[in-house]
């Protein structure tokens, strides 16, 4: 026992020398020192929280476009719609993200899943035009990539950056009043963000706001 303690103490004495490594000084202007001890998940969740009201929601308000107008723009091609209404990070081959609001009718719903979803018909033809991702598990990185203030260079690596995407998805999902029961045929109004890689793809919207309407 004593030997263990002794050798433990020895290791403590020797380790700093052996594992000598130059690390940059933490920036005293932020809480990075306190934040450094957190896991990536916790730190990115805090980042998403801290910026939600002050930065994320204003971006959404500024770039929001009505679904019909967006659809019209898309008929001119994805890049034309992107130039007119889209957001995307700089760099080659980054897909467009859009902020869209609209009202439609639920044609299909899977609410008892960790990745809850509703399919919504937007033009009254009975076929689903968009998918609303209600979470808590949400696919993709649209929420993150639509934000002009989020720059990959500012993050340690792809792992941290991926955790940020997930934290922002979860923040969006947390803010929703999730519909319950039978929602088939109900109207739903939403505002949300999605990535579109090809004009023919179905938007998989990450809503920041949904409101269920009247029953059929």
């Amino acid at each position: 026992m004593r030997q263990a303690i002794l050798s433990g103490a020895l290791v403590c004495v020797l380790l700093p020398a052996a594992a000598c490594k130059i690390v940059p000084n933490p920036d005293p202007n932020d809480q990075s020192e306190a934040l450094a001890s957190q896991t990536d998940e916790a730190r990115m969740a805090a980042y998403a929280d801290a910026n939600w009201e002050t930065k994320v929601l204003p971006v959404i308000a500024e770039h929001r476009v009505e679904y019909d107008i967006w659809r019209q723009a898309l008929s001119q091609g994805l890049d034309a719609a992107g130039e007119a209404h889209g957001l995307r990070p700089e760099g080659e081959a980054n897909p467009w993200n859009f902020v869209v609001s609209g009202t439609g009718t639920v044609t299909e719903a899977k609410l008892d899943s960790r990745a809850a979803k509703m399919q919504v018909d937007m033009d009254g033809d009975g076929a689903a035009d968009v998918v609303l991702q209600l979470g808590p598990i949400i696919r993709g990185t649209a929420m993150r990539d639509a934000m002009p203030f989020v720059v990959f260079t500012d993050f340690r690596d792809q792992i941290e950056f991926a955790k940020l995407a997930r934290a922002m998805n979860e923040r969006a999902s947390d803010g929703l009043t999730r519909p319950e029961g039978d929602v088939m045929g109900h109207t739903v109004s939403f505002t949300g963000v999605f990535t579109l890689r090809a004009a023919g793809d179905t938007p998989e919207v990450v809503p920041v706001e949904i409101e269920m309407g009247a029953a059929p």
């Binding site: 990070p89 700089e90 993709g140 990959f152 993050f155 690596d157 792809q158 792992i159 991926a162």
Partner: protein
């Protein structure tokens, strides 16, 4: 006047010390060093070939070096590039932490670095870090894997080399999708260090302990090739294997009904883009792009595998 003289004198010094480089610079725009892991993996070969071809097109001489994922070797190669008076370094690095120092050394010697495929742990010392969107790509691969598995069954994950950020990020992307399906159970998760041989050996051992496995998801294509060879040798071609990279080997396996899917990283284009940004930077002082850039990956299945060649997907016609 004195500046001109000093330039002339240092020009003389360079001429004396490095006659070969001097000759090269006289004809072109200078020397670009291209440093990658071993060309045994066709992915890295494609990077080197892509970068070299673009550099020559743009009028540069090239120096192609291989660090074999050894940080010490890489460090020496940066010193070689510095000593040879390279105007830029294109590098797929040998470790996120270990590569910070040589990139900084190059910067201090006035040589800009343009990193591809793998990030380093610091920003502000390389000019560009262009990496595949591994998280997005891994999610694509995982979604296909889940569908192929019918959302259920025991599976194995082969991880890449631990020191490499890409190993962690792909695994995170896989699990963000797969873990949503409670009927998919991971029975083994081991690193095969990106290696085909290790992929084969690990798969052999895992298969003995877990004969009931239904699928294997791999952090890269070479490990997928190794795993598939082991499964074939054991007569287990029913096991679903999914890779990551988009190599010609895995393409051929997909077309022959072996491995089921992979995720293409646009490695060839990425290397060319890095050279283009180096050229832009050398001519204008800026690449016009943020330092860290992501490039989206593409799912490869039997539907589009035939259009894949050397880490580039031809347009559908």
């Amino acid at each position: 006047m004195s500046i001109t003289r000093r330039l002339f004198v240092s020009g003389l010094a360079i001429t004396a010390v490095l006659p070969t480089v001097r000759a090269a610079r006289a004809q072109g725009k200078g020397l670009i060093a291209i440093i990658t892991p071993s060309h045994d993996n066709p992915f890295f070969k494609a990077e080197a070939v892509g970068a070299e071809a673009r550099a020559r097109e743009l009028g540069y001489e090239t120096l192609v070096l291989v660090h074999d994922d050894d940080p010490n070797k890489q460090s020496e190669m940066f010193d070689t590039a510095i000593a040879r008076g390279a105007v830029a370094i294109i590098c797929d690095n040998a470790g996120a932490d270990a590569s910070v120092a040589p990139v900084r050394r190059a910067k201090e010697a006035g040589i800009p670095s343009f990193l591809i495929d793998r990030e380093i742990k610091e920003s502000g010392i390389a000019i560009s870090q262009i990496v595949s969107n591994n998280y997005q790509g891994a999610q694509l691969g995982a979604e296909e894997f889940v569908a192929l598995m019918g959302e259920e069954g025991p599976y194995v994950e082969l991880l890449g080399r631990e020191a490499d950020t890409n190993a962690g990020i792909r695994s995170a992307g896989y699990h963000d999708i797969i873990d949503q399906y409670p009927d998919l159970q991971m029975v083994a998760q081991q690193s095969a260090n990106w290696s085909q041989t290790e992929g084969y050996e690990k798969m052999e051992t895992i298969l003995q302990a877990n004969p009931g496995i239904k699928g294997v998801i791999c952090g890269n294509d070479t490990m997928a090739m190794g795993a598939w060879a082991a499964l074939e040798a054991a007569g287990r071609t029913d096991v679903i294997v999914v890779g990551f990279d988009g190599s010609n080997d895995v393409r051929d396996s997909i077309l022959a009904g072996g491995i089921k899917a992979t995720v293409l990283q646009p490695a060839y284009r990425q290397a060319q883009l890095a050279v283009e940004q180096a050229d832009e930077y050398l001519r204008t002082g800026s690449t016009g792009q943020p330092e860290k850039q992501l490039m989206d990956c593409v799912l490869i299945t039997p539907d589009n595998a035939a259009r894949l060649e050397t880490f580039a997907l031809a347009d559908a016609s």
